[in-house]
């Protein structure tokens, strides 16, 4: 007997066409055999970027995924990503928007390297703005500063994986991608 499932129609998902050639690899992935975990307290007075990078650098962590718990920022700046009016990309970040002294609700961040091999943090989060509105977006971590109490972060190191920002031909955006870390056993996979 053939089985059928009847359901309400979904909104039709949209497929966007990016300006560059479509890359053949749609899911680039790597794994570490075991994550090492660290609980950080982000130091008051420092930028989120410095408060994340420095303690991990001291422990030899160059790539990590992080869960950022709630806390206070003396200043928070964020970007959202509306359609790019120039047409150069499908969407692009706005100029930084001031949220004022804000309360982080929850966030996720990735520690990797920029094109020059320097550490960089990519962070998205939700927060309460100074005016009481709840907002979310891409956090400008080098200009957002921790207020008086350390903010707790759970960091999971990705040993053997190098995360590096490279210019993506398809989207024309600089994007974080996984590579084999120097000296790591070759374990690259792609879908």
């Amino acid at each position: 007997m053939t089985e059928f499932t009847n359901a309400l129609p979904l909104p039709r998902p949209r497929t966007l066409v990016h300006p560059g050639p479509v890359g053949p690899i749609r899911i680039e992935h790597r794994h570490a055999n075991q994550g090492r975990h660290f609980r950080l307290g982000l130091e008051p007075g420092r930028t989120m970027q410095d408060a994340i990078i420095e303690p991990l650098r001291q422990r030899g962590v160059e790539a990590a995924s992080m869960t950022i718990l709630g806390g206070r920022l003396e200043r928070l700046l964020y970007c959202v990503a509306p359609p790019d009016p120039t047409g150069e990309r499908v969407a692009n970040y706005t100029r930084p928007i001031e949220a004022g002294a804000a309360t982080l609700i929850f966030g996720n961040a990735t520690l990797g390297k920029n094109g020059r091999g320097e550490p960089i943090v990519h962070c998205h989060a939700t927060f309460v703005c100074e005016d009481g509105n709840v907002r979310g977006g891409h956090i400008v971590v080098d200009r957002s500063r921790v207020a008086g109490v350390p903010i707790a972060v759970l960091a999971t190191s990705l040993d053997g994986i190098e995360l590096r920002i490279t210019q993506d031909e398809e989207t024309h955006m600089p994007l974080m991608r996984p590579f084999a870390a120097t000296g790591a056993e070759e374990a690259s996979h792609a879908l």
Partner: protein, 132 residues
């Protein structure tokens, strides 16, 4: 309550996988594909950020609610992957997104209806249940 639902499952964490998902791949199905590719049978989402063309949530009452982009930013994600009785892998993913004005919306993501806009970075931690 059905007798086959265990309320406590002992186990430990195994491998950690990181993926960069390209445009137009689905948020929920890409997490299942990543588990299939890495050989994870059970996993928890440990970190995720990126953007969607539009976001589609299960609405209260059983319908759906679409947040129009592009781009809708993924600002927090929680979820897990578990094998089903037929051998398939199923990701159950909930989260919060920010629209093009920074306003936030959330709920369970509808599988197949959340195409990635520019990129989706996801970290999964393998869950290894102890033998029952």
């Amino acid at each position: 309550m059905p007798s086959d639902i265990r309320l406590v499952e002992a186990g430990r964490m195994g491998r950690v996988a990181y993926a960069r998902v390209a445009p137009n791949e689905d948020l929920v199905l890409s997490i299942e594909k990543l588990c299939a590719a890495e050989g994870f049978r059970h996993a928890f989402v440990r970190g995720a950020l990126g953007s969607l063309v539009d976001a589609c949530f299960v609405a209260p009452g059983g319908g759906t609610r679409q947040v129009r982009g592009p781009a809708v930013e993924i600002v927090s994600l929680a979820g897990e992957v578990r094998p089903q009785g037929d051998g398939s892998l199923r990701a159950a993913i909930t989260g919060i997104v920010a629209d093009t004005e920074g306003h936030v919306h959330g709920g369970p993501f509808v599988a197949g209806a959340n195409p990635v806009c520019v990129t989706f970075e996801v970290t999964l931690e393998e869950w290894l249940p102890a033998a029952a």
